[in-house]
Symmetry: C2
Subunit: 453 residues, 2 copies
Amino acid sequence: MSELKVYNSFTREKEVFKPITPGHVGMYVCGPTVSGESHLGHARPYITFDVIYRYLMYLGYKVRYVRNITDAGHFEEEGRAAEDKISKKAILEKLEPMELVQKYTNLFHWAMAQFNTLAPSIEPTATGHITEQISMIQKIIAAGYAYEVNGSVYFDVKKYAEKYDYGKLSGRIIDDLLETTRTLDGQEEKRDKADFALWKAAPPEHIMRWPSPWGEGFPGWHIECSAMSGKYLGDQFDIHGGGMDLQFPHHESEIAQSTICNHKNPARYWIHNNMITINGKKMGKSYNNVIKLTELFSGDNPALEKAYHPMVIRFFILQTHYHSTLDFSNEALIAAEKGLRRLWEAYEHLNKMTLENGQPAAASAIDEELDKKVKKLVDEFEEFMNDDFNTAKVLANMFELAPIINSLKDKIIPITALTPGTFNLLQEKFGLYIEKILGLKSITEADNDKLKG
Amino acid sequence: MSELKVYNSFTREKEVFKPITPGHVGMYVCGPTVSGESHLGHARPYITFDVIYRYLMYLGYKVRYVRNITDAGHFEEEGRAAEDKISKKAILEKLEPMELVQKYTNLFHWAMAQFNTLAPSIEPTATGHITEQISMIQKIIAAGYAYEVNGSVYFDVKKYAEKYDYGKLSGRIIDDLLETTRTLDGQEEKRDKADFALWKAAPPEHIMRWPSPWGEGFPGWHIECSAMSGKYLGDQFDIHGGGMDLQFPHHESEIAQSTICNHKNPARYWIHNNMITINGKKMGKSYNNVIKLTELFSGDNPALEKAYHPMVIRFFILQTHYHSTLDFSNEALIAAEKGLRRLWEAYEHLNKMTLENGQPAAASAIDEELDKKVKKLVDEFEEFMNDDFNTAKVLANMFELAPIINSLKDKIIPITALTPGTFNLLQEKFGLYIEKILGLKSITEADNDKLKG
């Protein structure tokens, strides 16, 4: 059996995976910001890391999978901001950010269930870890790598970069950062443009606020993940995952924070999925091409020719290696739908087949070439997954197996052409991979109707 | 239209419901402790307050429904406690209480979805509100009603009782409390046996711990609900709900805490559902008769003759007024199942009926007595709900309507026997109440199979 190798974004090398604690894996994945609805771009990391989680468990590891919910920050409902600032209103008449948080968290969980992703072992919230974040900020201040100005605390990137390599993960050069970082409102108080906030003083109109040693305020985004990953997985853990767009500044800053607090890169292996483009363009508000998950499932977006079943989207995502870009188009989704149906049909046929009378075939009936081919295609499932979780190649092999399975079913090829060992292997591993590891399910019209209803 | 009246446990009177902020209702319901699986006893409060939530919305109120998750405390997995105390173990090898919290929170949410309860507007967690709880404890200490001993903080019940009525909600007499409260381990440090913990110093082996002005520890149970209800609903809100078993000491202590912090009873209306007994006995670990919700749905408990569909349990609970005790038995559940099927069948027939040609019937065909009876039975739905949410009486009326509906369907009674107004009213309100307000759904064998799978 081959060893599991993963591409480590930090070293830019494919490395043999060796967990810190034998038999256990600690994995942290940056979760959603629940100030709005999840979109197609969110589907990729959560489906990618779901398959990684499933595969690590299949390999026998006890995995603690932590995926956070970012629920702290400047949460406002569109159009409500102004009216909510009227302080005379009763508490029940005002926007309560946690109502939005709850609504979008529930919607996120619903969408994740549609995608058949397994729930993480722990799903900590940023607002649920204010004390832990404050403790970590105090440590960074004590070490001399953060400073307070007007009730806000900033990480001193310039000082950090003198001793450590800020930019190693993302490949950014610190001098460029000083040139290119936009000056945002209220950030003039920073010593350097590249510095980032650990704690922000809350202006009077800011609803989300907590007491701190620096006055009332709210935590910065980066410190949240450092505090929560450290609490549940330790100072250094095995895998830190997320989308490539999070490498800078988010993950770069997490590394800096942990380096100062714990003298360690928080993760041994940094794994980043690539982005989804839409008809060749980056997806984003400024491109006006964001497709929400509910819209994908219902078809209710001008960019969509039809509704797409969540399993079609899952299948579409897994048909490309997570490290490559993936271009969304109606044609590609429609092709994915056909592909999933074809594969599932073959899988259902395979499930119904039995070795006749449980007897081994006569040696003379065996088609050695075919037997060898089938065995190889099946054995490669694990080889491909061990090669940085290459689900695309696993599916490609399944597509090669599908016509063979169909021929077996139609008795164009007799079942005795395969050795019982190969046939049993095919039946066992095909099901294991398609259902348990890739997490796919059949799609039926009934499901589609349910989603609409 | 009659006014909504609710039985207020605090005043022991049925009172007209008048919200603090016109058009809005703030409702807090004590949620589950997620250190284990939810059982039958948990089904009643959440189904009861779900109907109250639905009815208040039907009346046109904008309701902010807050139901907490109690996830702080002494959480241990059976049999794991001892081995986890070995401090040499790696973090991933040790029990992480938040893994249990996540597992049982997910299971609770799943069960609540099976019961067709609507998600609350906000579902705050105790661990997510440590800073708020600490702030409140500081306020109580500053007011002179709490004291610190060895890193723990206790509420001074004796001092409170000199000025305020501790025991008013539950009807307990303070002198009795001093006599009857058991002395628990490590509670000798309290000034008085009736005093309760606001903050507990964490012994070295306690995994859940947070820094505080009194050293590392964890919050008491009562302060949790006071901090969270106050944060999201204000110093005083409309409805505080929960099971009757929570009146003492939990709700009594919440009142004391809020009285000191905000000089107010936190809620205008205290609503408590009565308990579920099992074959006439109290349900509890000491009686060895606890039935978990998953066991109810699967039938996998020696006390169960069969599996019960979640809708049967919902229906069973709503067939008794929430303020009365409710005895669980297989006979009662089997009867409930039959009842729900009968009612749903009538409802489906009713849905399919149409006034022929949309023409009003000739006046001569109208059976005035029947018409009056049907109208009265339907009009009473709202009257009964306005009378302290009497779902039992609403269902009783539906059972009186069912044979009439069946006779209309079988044309034993012509549809023209009812005035079009009455027929339309029947059709509209029956559906509104059975689906939207009582939150019932049809039960099918397919559903049952799904639950087992």
